[in-house]
C-alpha cells in the first residue's frame, strides 16, 4: 500500500496495485459543511484526469468532484449515496467516492504528498 496523494481541488487518491481509491479530503468536507447529496460515476465509465466525476451538495451549494487520475470506474461507494452524512463522518476512509482502474501511473507524480498538501492548505485558505 502506498502513500495517499492529494490534488489541488482537495481530492485524495490511494493507490492499491493497478487501481486507486478516490475521495475528498477532510479539509474539503469542513469547507462544504453538512453534505446532504452525493452523485457518483457509474461503474464502467471512463474518465480523464481532472474530468468531472461526482457531485456533492451541502445545505448551502453544489460542488463538483474531479478525478485526479484517468481510468475506468470499477466501483462506487453506495453507502455515501444512501446516507451522505457518511462523507462528513469519515471522509478519508469509509467516506470514499469511487475506485478507478488506473490508466497512467505517472499522473500520480503531479499530485501532492500529505506534507505538501498540509502546506498547500495553509498557503491557500478557502
Amino acid at each position: 500500500m502506498s502513500e495517499k496523494k492529494y490534488s489541488k481541488k482537495h481530492e485524495w487518491v490511494l493507490l492499491n496495485g493497478e487501481s486507486a481509491t478516490v475521495g475528498i479530503s477532510k479539509h474539503a468536507t469542513e469547507m462544504l459543511g453538512d453534505i446532504v447529496f452525493v452523485e457518483l460515476p457509474e461503474k464502467g465509465k471512463s474518465l480523464n484526469k481532472d474530468e468531472k466525476a461526482a457531485v456533492v451538495e451541502s445545505t448551502k451549494a453544489a460542488s463538483d468532484v474531479y478525478t485526479p487520475v484517468s481510468g475506468e470506474i470499477l466501483e462506487n461507494n453506495q453507502p455515501i449515496v444512501d446516507d451522505p452524512s457518511n462523507v462528513n463522518k469519515d471522509p478519508e476512509n469509509n467516506g470514499w467516492f469511487f475506485k478507478i482502474k488506473i490508466k497512467n501511473k505517472s499522473e500520480l507524480d503531479s499530485l501532492m504528498s500529505p506534507a505538501d498538501y498540509e502546506k498547500f492548505k495553509k498557503d491557500n485558505p478557502n
Binding site: 453538512d34 446532504v36 445545505t59
Partner: protein, 362 residues
C-alpha cells in the same frame, strides 16, 4: 462592509461569516447548519437579525392614510401592539419588500429586509405627508429567539413575556432599559423577536446562551424558513411578482381586497378576479436530488412550465424541499412534475406548504 453590535460575540462563538446585504453576517457556527436547524426545532436557537431595518413612523390619521397607499393592510384593524405581515407594493402591483408592521405607542414599527431597507425608506417617504416623521433605528439590535423552549428561556430573563400571543408585542424592562418584544419569527416555530438597544444586546444574548439557546446562522435560518414554506425576498418575491402570484392573498386585508386604493391595484384586482397565470408552489423531489434556484420545471409532456426560486435539503423533513413558480394549470397538489438538474430530468411532485407543520401559540 457593516457589522452588527454582536460581531465579536459571534466571532468568539466560532462563527463563519459571509457578506450579506452589505453586512458581515454569521452563516453558521461550530455545530453546522444541520445541527443548528435541529436545535431550533427541538429546543431553542437565537439569531442576530440586526441587519434588518427597524423603521419607526410617527402615527396620525394622515400617516395611516398615506401608508395604506403602499401597504395593502386595513390600518384601522391593527390593534395596539399587534403585528401584521404585508408588503410595500409598486405601481404594477409587484412587491418592493415584504415586512412586519406593528402598531406601537405613537406610531408604527416596521421591520424591513436588509437589502431593501434604503430603497424602502425612499418609497415610504414619497408617500408620507411632510408632517409625518420617520426614523431608521440604528441604535437598536434585533434578536430572534425561536423553538419550543423559547418561552421558558425568555420568561426566565424577561418577566411576563409568557402572556404574549402570536403576532403581538409589548414593552418590557431589561437592565433598566425598555426593550420591545413580539411573539413572532420566520422559522415555523413558536418564538420571539426582541428589539433591544445595541448597548444591551451582548449581555442579553449571553443570557440566552447561558440558558441553553444555541446560536443559529443564516444558513439554518434559510433551511428553517423553507421547510416552513415562508418566502424570502429576492427569491420568491421581487418587484415583478405580485402577492396574488406569490399565494399571499391572505396578507392583503379583506377591505383592501374589495376596495383597493393602493398602488398596483388594477393589476391585483385583475388577478383576484381572473386568477393568475403563474403561482408559487412547494416542490418535493422524489429522490434525494436538490433543485437549486434557477432549476427549470417541466411537465410530463416535456413542456417548460416553471422555475425553482429556492431549494435545499430540509433536515427536519429529511428530504429535499423547494419552492418555485409554475403555470397555474399545473399547480394542483401532488401533480407530477420534472426538474432539470445537471442536464437530467428528475421526478418531483407539487407539494402543499408548509413542508413542516407550524406550532404557533395563538
Amino acid at each position: 462592509m457593516e457589522k452588527t453590535a454582536l460581531y465579536n460575540f459571534h466571532k468568539n462563538l466560532g462563527a463563519k461569516f459571509v457578506p450579506f446585504a452589505g453586512y458581515e453576517m454569521p452563516i453558521q457556527y461550530k455545530d453546522g447548519i444541520v445541527k443548528e436547524h435541529i436545535s431550533t426545532r427541538l429546543y431553542a436557537g437565537f439569531f442576530d437579525v440586526s441587519h434588518m431595518g427597524q423603521l419607526f413612523i410617527s402615527g396620525n390619521k394622515f400617516s395611516e392614510d398615506s401608508l395604506e397607499k403602499i401597504i395593502p393592510l386595513d390600518f384601522k384593524e391593527i390593534k395596539m401592539n399587534q403585528s401584521k405581515y404585508s408588503f410595500l407594493i409598486n405601481d404594477e402591483g409587484g412587491v418592493i419588500d415584504d415586512l412586519i408592521i406593528t402598531r406601537v405607542e405613537g406610531g408604527f414599527s416596521i421591520i424591513l429586509n436588509a437589502a431593501c431597507k434604503d430603497n424602502d425608506i425612499k418609497e415610504i417617504s414619497k408617500c408620507l405627508n411632510t408632517n409625518s416623521k420617520y426614523e431608521l433605528k440604528k441604535d437598536l439590535s434585533l434578536i430572534a429567539l425561536q423553538g419550543p423552549k423559547s418561552e421558558s428561556i425568555l420568561e426566565s430573563i424577561v418577566n411576563g413575556i409568557k402572556q404574549l400571543k402570536f403576532m403581538n408585542g409589548g414593552y418590557f424592562d431589561f437592565e433598566g432599559n425598555k426593550i420591545y418584544i413580539t411573539r413572532s419569527g420566520y422559522t415555523g416555530e413558536d418564538g420571539f423577536e426582541i428589539s433591544i438597544p445595541n448597548i444591551n444586546v451582548e449581555n442579553f444574548t449571553k443570557l440566552l446562551s447561558d440558558k441553553g439557546a444555541k446560536p443559529i446562522g443564516l444558513g439554518a435560518r434559510d433551511t428553517l424558513r423553507l421547510e416552513a414554506g415562508l418566502c424570502l425576498y429576492g427569491h420568491e418575491l421581487n418587484q415583478n411578482i405580485n402577492p396574488i402570484q406569490a399565494n399571499l392573498k391572505w396578507a392583503i386585508s379583506k377591505r383592501r381586497r374589495e376596495e383597493g386604493g393602493f398602488k398596483g391595484w388594477e393589476n391585483i384586482k385583475k388577478d383576484l378576479q381572473n386568477g393568475v397565470s403563474k403561482i408559487r408552489i412547494g416542490v418535493k423531489p422524489s429522490g434525494r436530488i436538490i433543485a437549486r434556484e434557477g432549476t427549470k420545471i417541466f411537465s410530463s409532456s416535456n413542456e417548460e412550465i416553471g422555475v425553482i426560486t429556492s431549494g435545499t435539503f430540509g433536515p427536519s423533513v429529511n428530504s429535499p424541499v423547494a419552492m418555485g413558480y409554475i403555470k397555474s394549470k399545473f399547480s394542483e397538489i401532488n401533480s407530477k412534475i420534472f426538474l432539470e438538474v445537471r442536464g437530467k430530468k428528475h421526478e418531483a411532485v407539487v407539494s402543499k406548504l408548509p413542508f413542516y407543520k407550524k406550532s404557533y401559540v395563538k
